[in-house]
Amino acid sequence: MTSRATDKIITASRKPPFFRRLYVQLTLLGGITLVLAIFLFTWKTVHEQSNFAYESIKSQAETLAANIASASGNYIVSEDFGALEQLLLQSAAYREVLAIKVVDKNGTVFGHVQRLGNGKPRPVYEQLTLVPPSVATTRKLVDKNILTTWVPIENASLGWMQLDYSLATIESVQQSIWRNGIITALLAIMFSLGFLVILLRRPMRSISRATDFARELYKTRGQIMAVEKSAYEVEQLEHALNFAARRLYDTNKDLNDFKFALDAHAIVGISDQHGTLHYVNDNFCEISGYPRDELLGSSYSKLRSGAHSEIFYNNLWNTISSGRVWHGEIQDRNKDGSLYWVDTTIVPFVDDRGLPYQYIGIQTDITERKYAEEVNARLGRILDESLNEIYVFDTTDFRFLRVNRGAEKNLGYNREELHNKTACDIKPEFDKQRFSEFVAPLLRGECEELNFESLHQRKDGSTYPVDIHLQLSRAEQPFVFVAIILDITERKEAERKLQEYQEHLEEMVEQRTHNLVAVNRELESFCYSVSHDLRAPLRSIDGFSQALLEDYGNRLEEDAQSYLSRVRASTQRMGQLIDDLLKLSRVVRSDMNMLNVDLAALARDVEIRLREREPGRNIEFVVSGDLCVQGDERLLLTMLENLLGNAWKFTANKDSARIELGETAQEDGRKVYYIKDNGAGFDETYVHKLFEPFQRLHSMQEYEGTGVGLATVQRIIRRHGGDVWAAGKIDHGATVFFTLGGNE
């Protein structure tokens, strides 16, 4: 949160402007002060010394002028001008004396000595008139480094003396003073600054170190800096910094611990005043299923599940944007679409003006609690709606605490009435004493549940049988009994009936078996009768017809013989029909003896017999593939006799007949066997009639037969758990397919 501000401070302090550095400022300030002080002092000293020199030279010149004037007065009075000149020349021996002039009252020069350049003074003889001062006092004029002094001689009664005195010496003296002063000042300043710098270096280094320490505070983990012997204030500063560092660390640690605890427990997200997330913790990412970078920059609305109305969210937003804390439960949707519930507290952080600048959202996953609540509520409803009676009642006085609708409905009491009753009140078989004893094992924890049958009494006094599941629920304090009760009137009735049936069952089975045996016996006897009794008259008709033909044939007309032949044919056919019918019934009745049977071998036997019967036929007989099967050999032989016999029969009109027995695999892996011929075939329209007994698709004139063969085949195959079907086309042969057993 504060890292960006810290960065700012650090970058700002990294390159300080030169003049803003305290070290520089102190040095500069000290330097300037020193320079000013030393300069002023030097200037004043030099100035005073210079003035003093000037004054002393001036007074020296005046003294000289006064002496000359007083000495020259005697020579003027004595008019000894030669001595005067001598005096003037001597006086002019001072290097500073430039000229000495002596004038009378009128200004006429009568004594004049002058120095030119560095030369010696020489007398000048030149008519010159000067204008002496009007008042007889000493006058001084300074002009161009020349001090001109007028001195009256004898109160100007004898005239004036003018002395030109060079001040050039003063200047060089003054210059020398100035030069020395400045050199001294500079040396003083340099030394002072040097000392200053040396003095300041150590505290400045300490300050700089303290600054660096302070700057690194945010990442030091409670470390403190070593305090060196230094300026008192700096030392104090360092101590204070150490203290602050310690406090900062402690506070920070506290905060971090709080944050750690918060992050560990809660789902935390921080958003700005617009709701844009700029911090989410791991829990947030985990529950929402979004990676952190997808969440940052987006808002909470990304997680909306649609479970809450717009008003709900508006209310939330209004609360927090006005600076108040919002608390509530929200259902959100995570990235993979599943829903979850969070208990949510949103705390706005307000600025000085009281306006929120960020919101911190603290959430807890309450999905399971919500789910449990929902399940509980649903369970409650389901239990209440249950048709079973459910009671919750007290463990001591057995008074009903809660009852469901099933109980109300079955008993005829309303809920109020039931709440005033006890479990014993509706059980006519129990009184309180007996019931207490009965449920005691539950209370003692000796068993988990009591299951028993009893009677319940309705409000109208009638009773009905019930099945009771009673258990002690420790889920509530104090413990309660929970009973789930099933009305078993119907079950009891069913049980009674079942009992009855059971009692009579053996009798019934015996009866049925007996009947079945009788029926079977009857059937066998019937078949036997049919085979004998029906045959006897047929035999007579056929036999005597034959006898007639043989014994009296020569006496009968041709027509009569033909008729008798027909009678014989019909009786023989009827005999055949009876035979086939019996065979068919045998197929159904006989016991199965399941063995490994090679259909190929059976087919070869059948082929031999067929060839024996009709040796003249030209038939190609092909048997191929693995034809070993499980089955009843006798029945399978009968089946092959019929199928191959049919093929044999229906290829009678072919010059080169071909009969094929083989196997092929079906899509589901079952083996399918087939017998294929190139004979007369059949019309597929009537394929459904093919396997019905006595159904024929060819006339007797074309092919003989009773129409029982394929029906027999079908029964044999069905008895083996297989299936049979046929395909064919008139004049293009027929193929009969069959399977044996479902699992082959």
Partner: protein
Amino acid sequence: MSITNTKILLVEDNPDDEELTLRALRHHNIANDLVIARDGVEALDYLFTTGKYADKDPDEFPQVVLLDLKLPKIDGLEVLKKMRADERTKCLPVVVLTSSNEEKDIVDSYNFGANSYVRKPVDFVQFIAAAEQLGMYWLVLNQSPVDI
């Protein structure tokens, strides 16, 4: 067994069948004497010289018995059983006459000791085959055994 004994016992209740059988044998010149028994009791009387045939020579036995199974009073299988139980008739050849190929009859017959079976109506060809099977080829030679 006496070489002069060339009788055939036909046990048959149906007169039509009896007639047709007689005719078939006659037509093929089987000369043996035929004794007809019309039910099981008669057959046993003849064989064991009892009842109606009490006067018969007790040592006289037919060469072969043609036995129908469905008979009044005592049925064919019962007769067969009794024959096989008696020392005198234990080895007497018995050809069972069946009205169909109903195999139960055939199996039962063999179980009770029948030597062969012929399907009715008894036709010559079948009869010969059965006789051959029984090793009684001489029977069908149209020769009187006396002559042999």
